[in-house]
Amino acid sequence: MDAKKIMVIDDENIVGKMIKATFERDGYVVEKFLNAKPALERLREQKFDVVITDLKMRDVDGMEVLKIVKKEFPATKVIMITAFANMDTSVEAFRKKADDFFPKPVKISDLKARIKGLLEGEERPA
């Protein structure tokens, strides 16, 4: 079975770097991007199973990324992570069909468990 592909979009380099380091050890293939535009271009070339995206980014908003991914690649799971977490943004994210929403600081083990569940066909939380 092919390794599952994860894309991380976050303008904080450390986020992508750490997710890449921990997830690759578990056999995932991880690609990290600091900006949304090149990430979306890459998505159109390569199918990814999971996209982890930050909410506030310099070029394209995380909500916009979510909308595009869910429109163009409905099978791809999207997890939003953000330091700007509040009730409004999380409700908006779920309304736009995000598969999960993690406020920063993110617990990597939770993220792993959630991604594993999602890939095994778990429904997104209600």
């Binding site: 050890r25 330091a83 920063k104 600081p105």
Partner: protein
């Protein structure tokens, strides 16, 4: 000197002058009255003497004995009058003249008596002639003396009237002089102090709480008013500072939301590095472990900077004017509000002119003004708006211009003239209406100007003008202009 003493002194001086004028006039009028009453007596006496002389002539020409009787009767009348009016005559002409008159009248009476007796005894014609001659001489002497006295007294009356008029003129001149000098001496200081008070209160109404210098205060009631104004200035200044501080705290409330979010990123980074570090610990080579720890330290540094910025802004500081680069302050302020801008999803475009001359400003206060204006701009714009910040040097007037422009909803023209008034707000319950009025006061105290341009639906631009700092070597120094 206390005002109440000055007023008492001025009134006393006035009263003294009035008393002096009254005493002088009383004395002069009394003198005049005595002289006039003598002239009246002298006129009666003169008339009597004239009658005597006429009768004397008749007697010598027609030997009319009744004429002699008439003369004697007139002599008696005149003697009665001089005796009865002795005191009045002496007061008017003096004792010497009085005795001169009485002596001449007595002499005339003696000569008349002699002439009367010479007829009866029958003396030689030559003796009679001699006696007639003596009578005539004595009569002429009496008439001349009394006539000259009357003329002299009339002259004296005229003299008294002129002297009285002159005296009154002198007194009035003195009164006017004293009034002018007294007003100047007593009240010029008072008027000066009153205009000082007027200037101070006008300046307070314009929001400048400049105190009246202690050494300029008189030691009287106006001094007390000045001291009261100064203590009011202190109180207003303190309240104003508190107002600025409370406004700043309100800004901090907004800033804190941004800061909390900004803290989220480095905290998340530290957390992720630590989790990865623990998870991969056994597999990580030493250099990577070190790299991880260095990353943690770097992120801690980021947090420290954010917290320091916030503390710097929120800490109340004394007014401290320094020569500073406005571009650096704008960049510093933007760091502080970066998250506010990020949260609102607003773009910023900076166009800061290079090599701007320095300005003499209170950094803390100017930063407060900038945060306030940026905050207003953010609130006026929806997401995807753009905030333009420009600095320009205006060489003609030696000014540095800061423009803060938003692409927001704009301000309706009818509100533009009130926008800097205290408690005026277009934000309804969200705004206190104090931010812009405080900003206006701060810029004014920097000898600067703040104005606004706005078009509904297009955006608003706030324009701040600050004078360029001119060092003492170059010019007359800005410190005096700016000093509080």
């Amino acid at each position: 000197m206390k005002l109440v003493y000055k007023i008492i002194l001025a009134n006393t001086l006035g009263i003294i002058i009035i008393i002096l004028i009254s005493v002088f006039s009383y004395h002069e009028f009394n003198m005049l009255k005595a002289k006039l009453s003598f002239v009246e007596i002298a006129d009666t006496l003169n008339a009597s003497f004239l009658k005597m002389r006429l009768a004397e002539k008749n007697y010598f020409l027609y030997k009319d004995v009744s004429s002699l009787q008439l003369i004697k009767a007139e002599i008696r009348r005149s003697k009665d009058m001089t005796g009865g009016m002795k005191r009045k005559i002496i007061v008017a002409v003096g004792h010497e003249n009085f005795t001169g008159l009485v002596r001449r009248l007595d002499h005339y009476a003696e000569e008349i008596d002699k002439i009367g007796t010479s007829d009866k005894i029958g003396i030689s014609g030559q003796d009679i002639k001699n006696r007639q001659l003596s009578v005539r001489e004595a009569g002429r002497d009496l008439k001349l003396f009394s006539g000259s006295m009357v003329r002299l007294e009339r002259k004296k009356v005229n003299g008294i009237i002129s002297a009285s008029l002159d005296g009154l003129l002198y007194f009035f001149s003195l009164a006017i002089l004293v009034a002018i000098m007294g007003t100047y001496l007593f009240f010029s200081n008072m008027f000066r102090n009153l205009s000082r008070i007027e200037r101070a209160t006008n300046s307070i109404s314009k929001g400048n709480f400049n105190k009246i210098a202690e050494w300029k205060m008189p030691n009287n009631e106006l001094g007390s008013v000045m001291r009261a104004i100064n203590s009011m200035c202190d109180e207003l200044q303190t309240r104003h500072e508190k107002l600025i501080q409370s406004r700043k705290l309100a800004s901090i409330g907004i800033l804190t939301a941004g800061v909390a979010h900004e803290l989220g990123n480095p905290l998340n980074n530290i957390s992720m590095v630590a989790q990865t570090f623990l998870e991969l610990y056994d597999d990580l080579p030493d250099e990577e472990r070190l790299e991880y720890m260095e990353t943690v330290l770097q992120e801690c540094g980021r947090i420290k900077d954010i917290v320091k910025n916030l503390l710097d802004f929120s800490k109340p500081k004394d007014t401290e004017f320094r020569v500073l680069d406005i571009n650096a302050i704008i960049k510093k302020t933007l760091k502080l509000v970066r998250n506010m801008i990020n949260v609102a999803g607003i773009k910023t475009e900076l166009d800061l002119q290079e090599k701007l001359p320095e300005v003499f400003i209170d950094e803390d206060k100017i930063q407060g003004v900038l945060v306030n204006l940026i905050n207003n701009a953010i609130q006026a714009m929806s997401a995807k708006g753009t905030l333009f910040i420009r600095t320009i040097r205006q060489e003609k007037e030696d000014k540095v211009i800061i423009e803060i422009e938003d692409t927001g909803k704009g301000i309706p023209p009818e509100f533009l003239s009130n926008i800097f008034d205290p408690f005026f707000s277009t934000k309804g319950t969200e705004g206190t209406g104090l931010g812009l009025s405080i900003s206006y006061g701060i810029i004014k105290r920097h000898n600067g100007k703040i104005r606004v341009k706005s078009k509904v639906g297009v955006g608003t631009t706030f324009i701040i003008e600050l004078p360029v700092y001119i060092s003492k070597e170059e010019g007359d120094g800005c410190e005096e202009d700016h000093g509080d």
